[in-house]
Amino acid sequence: MLFNSLEFLLFFPAVTFTYYALPHKYRWALLLLASCVFYMFFIPRYIFILIFTIAVDYCAGLLIEKAVQPAKKKALLVLSICANVGILFFFKYFNFFNQDIRALAHFAGWNYTLQSLVIILPVGLSFHTLQAMSYTIEVYRGNQKAEKHLGIYALYVMYYPQLVAGPIERPQNMLHQFHKKHEFNYSNVANGLKLMLLGFFKKLVIADRLADYVDFVYKGPAHYHGLAILLAVVFFAFQIYCDFSGYSDIAIGASLVMGIRLMQNFDRPFISKSVTEFWRRWHISLYTWFNDYVFVPLVISLRNAGKIAVYVGLLITFFLAGLWHGAGWTFIIFGLLHGFALMYEFSTRKIRQRLSSSRIYDAASIIFTFGFACFSWIFFRASSFRQALVVIRSLFSRGQDSQDVIHYNFGLQQIAISTFAVAFLLALEYFQKNKGFISALNSLSRRKQWIICNLMFASIILLGIFAKKEFIYFQF
């Protein structure tokens, strides 16, 4: 079920109302049932994949905690991780690796007959797989007690607001909240609805509007040049930000309405002065997951190599992060670009620290970091490496078509609306500073709050694109 659908408009209040009407002891069952319904709106039979991974990880958690010998604990952890990664590999990566092996075999003259599979990627697989793995890892590390209630554990994996596209939660944050009784709290409900409103504004007014232009240019980038391509590249940056952070806002807001707090996933990434800072503000739950479970263990295991350990750790982490996004070389390149950028920043951190006292340097850093992110997203968005090269080449070429495609396809009116909406959003983010949207909004007078909320809601009604476009991160 998409958040931007009539079904969700009916589903959400029905579930929320029933949640508060039910006694606490039955609420986990309601949320679990609602999550199953939510998930089965996509491909119903894929629920069995979730059931399988839930069963494996639930048992693994209990057995790891019970086991005394470290070797046995480790074996159980490895088994659980293999089960999760195995399913992820089968549905997401099998065809990718199979194609590459076939190409290699063809080049080497070997006989390779394994055919590609015709399978649809289960929605949210990449997200709930990481979330499930973090549970067994935390139990193994002793940071989390194994969950004995199967229903609560299943809810931890399947909780509908964040099931499909995160934030990727940790068991320490989630499990105790499902056990806790949440009374109806006007503040939570009001704040949750405000956050959902912000999320829908970002998705319907900004992201889906920009998507029309971006999709058009990326269908045939060789036909366009210079400004038309530049606009598509910059628009995509805001499209993906508004799309993904919008989803996160709706997820966090919907959960907050029921009193359950999810982690922040975005924190004004476009004010980042470095790529390192960018990853502390962009898709925070993914970055912290890879940091805690890939980068840090790698660096520790290679600590004898000194700085090399950090470089190797960054490269491997971002290679995997790129691959997590998609089974394709463009995503790997996207990840590696960021990996190399972080390696560069790590090696030059002392010089940059000295320069960062200058305002001009800070401003230039923000612009450069934004530019770098836009450039890396060319690979993210392109359907192939070749197309990415065409986009880059066209970006620096000249042609008359630029004005035509802007004028005839998109129109100055659409550009004005998009620019205004993005400016409004950036202004909101600027004024909120590091307080967060809700805190910043609540610190204003009631009148100002009503004005801002009405501006967003009216924009959705008058300017929203209701063509039911999927969220970008659903494909991961």
């Binding site: 009539l6 508060y20 109806f184 006007y186 409900v189 009001a190 609805l193 269908k219 045939g220 036909h223 078509d401 035509d404 495609v405 005839y408 396809n409 009503w450 909320c453 009405n454 809601f457 009216a458 009604i461 008058l462 929203g464 694109i465 209701f466 063509a467 039911k468």
Partner: protein, 376 residues
């Protein structure tokens, strides 16, 4: 909880009021939820009806379901460029239905012919093959069999087009001559049909409405004509992207389609529809749509293999390139397509059996308009 409901109600009330009128217009105007009922009434053909939806495009479902209900013997199929063939042009005993805009691609054609039950007594198909279906430089429209069988009205259109409804009301108030409703003996369903008398008739053909009787549209300085041409020239029209080569997949799809028709003993008379001469000459000169001039040669061998006719009507300035008989750069008028029908009849014995060319010639000669031949 009470405070929440009170504040939510106060917040949402102005928006509910704002949306009330568009919601009423949509539901009352037939834009949502009555499609099956309309299909049933049009198939019965007891009363003249027009279906012209402004905010939805359910043609795939609508036309396919009409085929199942109307059970035609003679079927016109293709893009919007076949929609001017109407039942008055054929003999009375020919059960005719115009399924134009049912297929948007060769894949769609294949879905239709494979899904169509054997008890639909189609003997002959007049097929208009839109050239852009064969453009390798254009992504084909997504095609799903389910679209033929299922249709869900999209209620979010009330919200997304609410402002447009108010704009129209203001515009109609300021320009009272603008809306041009259908004559009282025609039941109009859908806002386009009610406002401009544009829509699909019971036989599936399309009427451009009362305003287009006199052929004001089609002249080169007409807004609709010009804007269509502009988009086409700049490769910005969704249908007319630039391209130089023919799509191999589309040719394979055509082969499969003809194979099924052949197996079912269905005659196929196909043509590549014309452009206005102004547009055609431009595309010939600028060369960025050069695939258009390769479609006929790519398809002819497969048509010949099955013994079917394929005619290249892309250009014929003398016969049907006359710009004033075009609605826009690519859509000809009823008059223009009658000329095409008569030409096809003179070159296809199969199609000729369905028409009385003497009668059609008389109608053509008596017609004073650039647009309409048969009165509504």
């Amino acid at each position: 909880m009470k405070r929440l409901f009170r504040n939510l109600s106060i917040f949402l009330l102005p928006y509910m009021v704002f949306l009330a009128l568009p919601a009423w217009k949509f539901i009352h105007g037939g834009e949502l939820g009555r499609l099956d009922h309309i299909i049933q009434r049009q198939a019965e053909d007891r009363q003249k009806m027009l279906l012209g939806l402004e905010y939805s495009s359910p043609e795939t479902y609508y036309k396919y379901q009409m085929i199942l209900k109307a059970k035609p013997e003679l079927l016109a199929m293709g893009s919007s460029r076949i929609l001017q063939f109407r039942k008055e042009e054929f003999k009375q005993d020919a059960r005719f239905y115009n399924a134009g805009r049912l297929p948007n691609s060769t894949q769609d054609l294949l879905h239709v012919i494979k899904l169509m039950p054997e008890n639909i007594p189609v003997k002959t198909i007049i097929l208009s093959l839109d050239q852009h279906w064969f453009n390798a430089g254009q992504e084909p429209y997504p095609s799903d069999e389910k679209d033929l069988l299922e249709y869900q009205p999209d209620y979010s259109k009330i919200i997304s087009n609410a402002a447009d409804v108010y704009r129209q009301l203001i515009s109609d108030y300021m320009h009272p001559g603008n809306p041009c409703p259908a004559p009282p003996d025609i039941v109009a369903e859908g806002l386009i049909a009610r406002r401009f008398s544009s829509g699909y008739r019971n036989d599936g053909s399309y009427w451009y409405g009362q305003k287009n009787r006199d052929g004001d549209a089609g002249k080169l300085n007409d807004g609709r004509f010009k804007s269509y041409e502009e988009n086409l020239y700049h490769g910005l029209s969704p249908n007319w992207c630039f391209g130089k080569t023919i799509s191999a997949q589309a040719v394979v799809d055509m082969d499969s389609f003809l194979a099924v028709c052949h197996r079912r003993n269905i005659d196929v008379i196909a043509y590549l529809p014309p452009f206005s001469s102004h547009t055609y000459n431009y595309m010939l000169k600028e060369g960025r749509h050069s695939y258009i001039f390769k479609v006929y040669d790519a398809l002819l061998p497969i048509f010949r293999r099955y013994g079917y006719d394929l005619f290249d009507l892309t250009e014929n300035e003398k016969e049907w390139g006359y710009n004033d008989e075009y609605v826009d750069a690519v859509h000809g008028s009823e008059k223009m397509y009658l000329k095409i029908l008569m030409w096809l009849c003179s070159h296809s014995a199969v199609l000729d059996a369905y028409c009385d060319r003497t009668f059609l010639q008389e109608k053509l000669e008596r017609c004073k308009s650039h647009f309409s031949v048969f009165d509504e």
